[in-house]
Amino acid sequence: MRLEFDDVSYSYEGKSAEKKRKGKKEQAAKAQWGNAPDARWALRHVSFAVEPGEFLGIAGHTGSGKSTLLQHMNGLVHPTEGQVLADGASLARKEVAAEVRSQVGLVFQYPENQLFAATVFDDVAFGPRNMGLGEDEVARRVEEALGQVGLPFEQLKDRSPFSLSGGQQRRVAFAGVLAMEPDILVLDEPAAGLDPRSREDFLDMVSRFHAQGATVVMASHSMDDLAARCTRILVLSEGEVYLSGAPCEVFSDGERLKAVGLGLPSPAAFAEALRKEGFPLEEGFFSEEQLADAIARALTPAAGGKGEAPLS
C-alpha cells in the first residue's frame, strides 16, 4: 500500500478557537482550529509518500511533529487541512480509515504501557479478535506473531504480561501489532529505554521485517540507528519537511542538521570534527568500520617509511 500525504497541516486547538466553539452557534461553525490566531501548528503543508517496500526514517527534534505525523498514518488523527491518501483513497472517509487501520500497524512510544489483558495470549489476540477473525485463525496469528518477536509461545502464552521484563513486554506489545498482519509497520521510537543489546536485537528484528518485504516507517532520535538502517530519511522541523533523501544525502551537511537541533550520526560527526582540526581525512559518508579504515589510511604514509603498523 502507498500512503500519501497531500499538503497536510494539523493544528492543536488554540484558546480563541476553543472559546468560539463554546460560543454561539454561528460562531461555533466558524471555529476552525486552523483559522484561530493562536493556533499551534504541529504539522504545516507536509507532502510526501511512503513508498511500498521502503524503510523510511523520520528524524526531528523534540516537538517537531514526528509523533503527530505518525498518528496520521492510520487515520487516528485527521488533518486540519489537506488529506492523507491510502492507494489514492482519502482516510477522511470512515470506511477507508477502518480498512487502513488493520493494514497500518502503529506501535507507539513505550507500547508496553498499553498492555492490559490478563494473559500474553489475550493481549496479542486483541487486535485479530477485533478484526472479527475466527478463534483458530486468531490462535495461529498469535503463535506466529510471538514467534516473530522471538518469544516462546508455549512458555509465555498463559502468563500475565506484567510479570515479564520490560524488554519482553515491549515484544509482546509489538506482537500485538504484528498479529494484525499489517502491510506497513509504523514505529515511534521503538528502541527507547531498552538496554544496548535489547536495542540492537529489537532493531535487527525490524530490519528483518523490512528485508522480508514489509514497509517500515520509524521515528527515532538516534541518528546512528536511522543512518544504519533506513533507505530514506525525512527530517521534520517545526512541523515542516526540512530535508528528505537517502542517509548519505541527508547526513552530508552537519550544519544544516544542527540548525534544526539535530546531530550527525556518530561516525559522520567525528569525521567532520577531525576535518575541522585539519586532519587529512577523505570526504564521504562512513560507517564506524569505514571511518576506522579511512583514518588508518590517512595515518599510513604512502611510502610506509614511518614505522607505523601496516593496515590489516
Binding site: T62, G193, R197, L262, F270, L291, A292, T300, A309, S312
Partner: protein, 281 residues
C-alpha cells in the same frame, strides 16, 4: 562497620530485595554514595538498577540488610517523609509522573505538598522551569507537549522540591540529542553546586561525564571505578548487555588497524590523539 555515616548519603548494607519473595532482584548488595558524588549506574534491562533507585527514595525497603539514606534507615516509617522530601526521583516515563493539566501546577505539585508558601513557591516554579529550559511555559498545557518536553517538566517538578540528592532513572531516554545535552548540562551544573547525583542511563556518552561508574548485573556490582577505568572494558561490558562509548569503539577499531592510539572514552580525547599522530607524520 562504623555507625556514623554523615559523609555517606546513601548506603546499602548487605541489602537484599525480592518482589515475589522467591527471586531476589539483588542480594548482599553493598553500595555507598558519598555526599556530593556524581554516580552513574549502568546495567542491562532487569539488572536491578530501577529497583535500587526506588530504595534510595524509600519507595521500596529491603527484605534483608538495610538501606540508609542521609544516615537514616529507610525501613523506619518515621524517616520516610524526610527521605522522600529530600531525595528526588525522576522516572523513565514522563507520562506516568505528570499530575496536572497546566505546567505551573504540575511543577508546583511537589513543593506545594511540602508546604512551601507563596511567593517562594512561585519563585521555585519559575527557577525550576528556567533550569530545564522551559522558561515562560508556565501556562502551557501538559497534554500538548512532546515526550521530551514532558520529561523536562517532570524534572522541573523535582528540582522545585529542592532535593539534596537527585536520582535520574533513564530520565534522558526520550530526549533528542539537543535536549539530552541540555539536560546533562543541568545535571553537571547541579552537581557542581553540590547536589549528589545518582544517574541511571543506557547512554555511555553520559556515563563518561560522571565521577564514578558502577555496573550492575543480576543485582550485583560487577564493575566500580572512574569512567576511564570502566568504560574501556569492551568485552566485559558487551557480556553485560552494554556497549562502550563510540570513541572507545572507534579507538579499538583503529588499534586493530595498527593505529597506535590509547582507548579513549570521549570524542574530544580521541580527536586530540589522532591530530597529534597526524602532525608527527
Amino acid at each position: 562497620m562504623a555507625k556514623d555515616s554523615s559523609n555517606s548519603f546513601v548506603r546499602f548494607r548487605d541489602a537484599g530485595f525480592s518482589y515475589d519473595g522467591k527471586r531476589f532482584v539483588f542480594q548482599n548488595l553493598n553500595l555507598e554514595v558519598p555526599q556530593g558524588q556524581f554516580l552513574c549506574l549502568l546495567g542491562g534491562n532487569g539488572s536491578g538498577k530501577s529497583t535500587i533507585a526506588k530504595h534510595i527514595d524509600a519507595l521500596l525497603v529491603p527484605d534483608e540488610g538495610a538501606v540508609e539514606v542521609f544516615g537514616k534507615d529507610t525501613a523506619n516509617p518515621e524517616f520516610t517523609y524526610f527521605i522522600r522530601s529530600n531525595a528526588g526521583l525522576v522516572f523513565q516515563n514522563p507520562d506516568d509522573q505528570l499530575v496536572a493539566s497546566l505546567i505551573e501546577n504540575d511543577v508546583a505539585f511537589g513543593p506545594e505538598n511540602l508546604g512551601i508558601p507563596n511567593p517562594e513557591l512561585r519563585q521555585r516554579v519559575t527557577d525550576a522551569l528556567a533550569e530545564v529550559g522551559l522558561q515562560g511555559f508556565e501556562e502551557h498545557e501538559t497534554f500538548a507537549l512532546s515526550g521530551g518536553q514532558k520529561q523536562r517538566v517532570a524534572i522541573a517538578g523535582i528540582l522545585a522540591m529542592d532535593p539534596a540528592i537527585l536520582i535520574l532513572d533513564e530520565a534522558t531516554a526520550m530526549l533528542d540529542p539537543r535536549g539530552r545535552k541540555g539536560l546533562m548540562r543541568v545535571v553537571r551544573q547541579l552537581h557542581q553546586e553540590g547536589m549528589t547525583i545518582v544517574m541511571i542511563t543506557h547512554f555511555m556518552e553520559e556515563a563518561a561525564s560522571a565521577q564514578r561508574v558502577v555496573v550492575l548485573d543480576e543485582g550485583q556490582v560487577r564493575m566500580d571505578g572512574t569512567p576511564q577505568e570502566v568504560l574501556v572494558r569492551a568485552d566485559e561490558l558487551q557480556q553485560l548487555s552494554l556497549e562502550v562509548p563510540f570513541a572507545c569503539r572507534l579507538s579499538l577499531l583503529l588499534r586493530q588497524r595498527g593505529v597506535n592510539v590509547p582507548v579513549c572514552i570521549t570524542d574530544d580525547a580521541l580527536k586530540e590523539e589522532l591530530c597529534a599522530l597526524s602532525s608527527t607524520m
